[in-house]
Amino acid sequence: MGAQMNKRHPLAGKRMTGAEMIIQVLAQEGVDTIFGYTGGAILPTYDAIFRYNIEHESNKREQIQLIVPANEQGAGFMAAGYARASGKVGVFIVTSGPAATNSVTPIRDSMADSVPVVLICGQVARSAIGTDAFQEAPVFNIMSSCAKHVFLVEEPEDLEATVRTAFGIARSGRPGPVVIDVPKDVQNWEGVFKGEGVIRFRGYENRMKALAEARLLPEECAEFLSLLQKSERPLIYAGGGVISGDAAVHLRQFSERFQIPVVTTLMGIGSVDTTGELSLHMLGMHGTAYANYAVMDCDFLITIGARFDDRVAGKVQEFAPNARFLAHIDIDAAEIGKVKSVTWSHVGAAREALIDLLQAGRNFKKDFSKWVDHIRRLKKQHILNYDRESEKIQPYHVIECLNEITKGDAIICTGVGQHQMWAAQYFDFKHPRSLLTSGSMGTMGFGLPAAVGAQMAFPDRLVIDFDGDGSMRMNLGELETATTYELPIKIVVLNNLGDGMVRQWQRLYFGNRFSGSDKSLRRKDFLKTAEADGFEYAVRLSDKARIRETLQEFVSFKGPAFLEVMIDPEADVYPMVGPGMGYKEMITGDYIIGRMAQDGLFDRTSKKSDAF
């Protein structure tokens, strides 16, 4: 855990304040960007950042950039966006009390999506803890329920090692958020900087060591290969673990080598090139029809870094009903057998497991071409589609046009709701870490700050915040952050005058009573908002004929750009597997062809949207 120390830290043995030690350890961990908002209990640390950067004035590359959001939640999602896009640990620093509680949402969000971030919170001085002091909140208690781990630094001598350890915990095993609560007097304390050392966690360290060494034994590989040999219709179900485990390359090799098609979860998008022949794109509640049919048809489901969550397996008993065998590879032992019992399992890193299986199966021979042909037919027959004749702007069409420009190479960030699902369905993703989205928590308002973080990690890449009007409202304040730091983020707001996904459910299950979700009477003018925050490009698109040229000029604009697209407010997300339902109950809407009894292997699927 912690950084590998090959030589003594040049400042080892030097006296400094706790705040200075924090910054020194961040620098040592390779942190180049901090997101955060200052305040009373974190002032010493912010002062230390300022002084650190003055000391490194001569070498800008050694400086730590500080990005100040409008709200601490924004800082958290920026750090998460940075981490999701780069794979490095994202860092955010906030003050005590309300700043810490504003950070709860991104911490929980990062936990739910296994994103490595470190949050440093100021806390009231040790003598004031527990006295209901000004801006005091029980951070340890609150964050304990949300984070991978929480430290309250009680002894200033432990501060340096604690910060270092936090990075180790955040990035090891199944990654996650770590919170360090640092009382103000600990930041002001002066002591000797050691330049090395971590807090020991013997159980955790042993488990991490075991995980690192967890290779597949020859007999385990042989057992897997014999299942593969016995199967006719194998299917890979890949999740976010493939991406966070940097196993995308190996997954692609594995799929190619054995000719096994791949469905991915929302978090797993980009683990394979979605334009590839064996890719079936996303499965689940709003997965592609062909992905879900493949799940129904497969006889061997190979789960890698995914966890059978309720948006994938709404009805667990009916999930992959024809799978004679189930394999599950995950780095988290608690995920094996949590939802679905499996035939073959392995606890360990996806990358090593795939390497071992590829190696063991180098002489493996089995022809799955009939199955691959079937997959090809499914993809053709049940292709995503929508009302192409409509007068109104269809969101899917907007994405198709934008996709012609981005060609699967952009980093796409989203909020949560219909636009998120459309983005997942209609964009191509050629690379891992290119769809940044709040998958498990489903936090509206994620997209804009995540785009800020991603752009900080990759200043030269095209970063698009593909958002909805509801999600955009949630962290609207961060528009200012994009312009302040001159980040060339491209923001698309699909405006359907309300909470579209909620309305879709209200149409389906609540008799068209749009309680709380209709915003058509609001007087919000997104363009004025963007202009007020300094956007020089702020355009509203409401003419279907101008989509292509507008998108072209929008993406080509140098600097931050804001595009509001007035879409058909009735547009819905299809296919849809209702909550708690099996894939055979999937509805595909009026434009995607559902499977009829005669051409499917199994169940008949309604294609009418009024099937409920």
Partner: protein, 187 residues
């Protein structure tokens, strides 16, 4: 939790209790972390004891939860993810000794004292203190013995009672792998 998710394993196995033993680092907030994990995931704790282990840096938590073996496994896996956890085991159905200590204040009027003491003798319950109206008994044993003792003294009238909750220990090193069930002859 499992394939038959519609059937709540907790509800279906109301008789089933599991004894879990968790070794944790003796650090700030560890207990609240573990207790928080239980409440966050909706697991109910029947009893909970925490104290230092033979290693002063480590504490042993013994928990009794009402659930089936499969769910207990899931609970242990979740507990095992916490950085402060050193090991987490299900001691149910293993070769271990279990004990619980109960202090109980029983109404003991003059005329009933002799029979009460005779009955207490059967359970090797000790009188810790006495007043003209009461005896305070201390009894140690596994859950069965403790419950049986309480059944016997209940008719006399229990004023108040405190239980430590169960603690459990393996009989021998290496016996944790054993799945055999042995009863404690001295219980």
């Amino acid at each position: 939790m499992t394939d038959s998710s519609s059937q709540d394993p907790v509800l279906n196995n109301t008789q089933n209790t599991r004894t879990l033993s968790v070794l944790v680092e003796n650090r700030f907030g560890v207990l609240s972390r573990i207790a928080g994990l239980f409440s966050a995931r909706g697991y109910n704790i029947e009893s909970l004891t925490v104290a230092r282990s033979s290693d002063p840096g480590l504490s042993r938590i013994t928990m009794v939860v009402r659930c089936e073996a499969l769910l207990a496994q899931q609970i242990l896996k979740q507990v095992n993810k916490l950085p402060n956890t050193v090991e987490a085991l299900d001691l149910t159905d293993t070769n271990c000794v279990e004990r619980e200590l109960v202090l109980v204040r029983v109404r003991a009027p003059e005329e009933k004292r002799t029979t009460l003491l005779t009955e207490a003798e059967i359970f090797r319950a000790r009188v810790v203190t006495a007043t003209p109206e009461n005896y305070v008994f201390e009894v140690t044993g596994d859950s069965g013995k403790v419950e049986a003792f309480l059944d016997v003294v209940r008719p006399y009238g229990i004023d108040e009672m405190v239980r430590t909750g169960k603690v459990a220990l393996h009989r021998a090193l290496g016996s944790r792998a054993s799945g055999s069930q042995m009863t404690d002859p001295s219980a």
